[in-house]
Amino acid sequence: MKINQLIDIYNLNEDVLQKATSRRDVFGKLGSLGKTLAMAAVPFGLAATAGTSSAYAQNTSTNTSLNFALLLEFLEAEFYVMGVESGVIPAGKEEHIFKLIRDHEVDHVEFLKVVLNSLGLDPIDKPEFDFTAGGNFDPFNDYNQFLALSQAFEDTGVRAYKGQATSLMRNGDLLTAALQIHSVEARHASEVRRLRGIKGWITGNERGVGMPAATQAIYDGEENVEQGGVDVTTITDIGNDGVTEAFDEPLNRHEVLAIAGLFLA
């Protein structure tokens, strides 16, 4: 898929995506880009309730959210299909784990296609991916890099689905299905993180030992301790780390695509 098609589908700011997909100095940019976007973007949960009163707008919103989810599932599914085929994953326990995750992501792709079709909406075509991100990664020859990207994709997936939930509120069945995928991504994330020797949950905005600096945008914002307008550290004896671990934070579509865009061919 060409980037201008993505822009059409997701109504994205072209400048944002060009920055995100520029291969030159790509790692330096990703870290700072997430912060810029987080400040510039209207929080998705608030934006979703504005200007979507017409049936057309609702349909557009649903289409965008579901195809956005499909894009992420395409990315994850292909990553694990290629990973399992590559032989980079050690036989035994870890191969069992990643075959299961692969199966889940493939199932999610098919499920979302069916859902879109059932709503009379067109699923996007699978984009071409480049899991080396322009030659910067080698996940299918280096197992540690495979694990790191797996964690990156799963933790991103959790934040991405969370960011779409409010836009699906008008259709309870769709919302429930999205939540049912969301918690599966969380299960995956926990497992992969623990395989890498870190906790299954995110402390502060720590990306975790061994994670490339380029993945920091996936963790920025997770240090939030304010929920519903209150600093939660002031209403409990549990310290800052526990409070940040207890809540996962959303990412909006722009933020997610800035991350996923690195892996589009």
Partner: protein, 240 residues
């Protein structure tokens, strides 16, 4: 577990709590106020409603609308927090250092969830419930981790099923922030407890489309009823 809320929190923290409630109202009031979910610094909690035909047994009414759903979540978070507090206070025989850390992390997270929901609901929050963990042998690894697995999977299914019942998008987002943490917990508990390396997202939980479970409040409360002494009235909860 029979201590009241006020007994559990020293006077200083209660003072801080009231201060926080004020700031909650101030900064979060714009959205919270529209649903009537205002926070107050008031110490009173929801009245226990006597059940006429069962003398001495009191029933807690969860309420209706978003308040009811958040109180329903508070039931589950109270249950989990109470369970992990006991599990950490009396570690089972042969507990590993990794398991100790995991159980204490889960205790912390569930306490945070409980205290957050209680603060968010303010005077509409249900009181501290009484729980019955007599079916769990806290000296046994199998018993404790088996219960933890049940509670975490149930928590995931509960939030997944309750999302559609919420009207306020801000509350849906917060429920979403909590449920994925429950999912992370469920996977970790399954990973350390079950022999099958694929149990963390096992086929006993996921359906053919690789979707996690989503249960109605009635189903969840029925499944948890063996652990909850206090009678819960969920009749006013939204059904769809």
């Amino acid at each position: 577990m029979s201590k009241t809320y006020d007994e559990q929190i020293p006077a200083l923290r209660e003072t801080q709590l009231q201060g926080s409630r004020r700031s909650f109202l101030k900064f979060g009031g714009a959205t919270l106020a529209t649903t009537g979910l205002l926070l107050s610094g008031c110490k009173e909690f929801i009245d226990l409603i006597p059940v006429d035909d069962v003398p001495g047994v009191k029933t807690v009414n969860l309420g209706k609308g978003d308040v009811g759903i958040l109180n329903y979540a508070l039931v589950l978070e109270q249950l989990e927090a109470a369970f992990y507090t006991l599990a950490v206070a009396t570690p089972y025989n042969g507990i590993s250092s990794e398991e100790r850390v995991i159980l204490d992390d889960l205790r912390q997270h569930e306490v945070v969830h409980r205290e957050f929901l209680r603060a968010a609901l303010g005077k509409d929050a249900i009181p501290t419930l009484a729980f019955d963990f007599s079916s769990i042998n806290f000296g046994s690894r199998n018993s404790v981790l088996g219960a933890a697995k049940l509670f975490e999977d149930l928590g995931v299914a509960a939030y997944n099923g309750a999302g559609r019942l919420l009207k306020n998008p801000d509350f849906l987002l917060i429920a979403g922030k909590i449920v994925s943490v429950e999912g992370r917990h469920a996977a970790a508990i399954r990973s350390i407890f079950d022999e099958d390396p694929t149990s963390f997202a096992g086929s006993d939980i996921l359906d053919d489309n690789a979707l996690d479970r989503a249960f109605s409040p009635d189903t969840v409360l029925e499944m948890a009823s063996g652990f909850i002494i206090t009678k819960i009235n969920a009749n006013q909860l939204p059904k769809s």
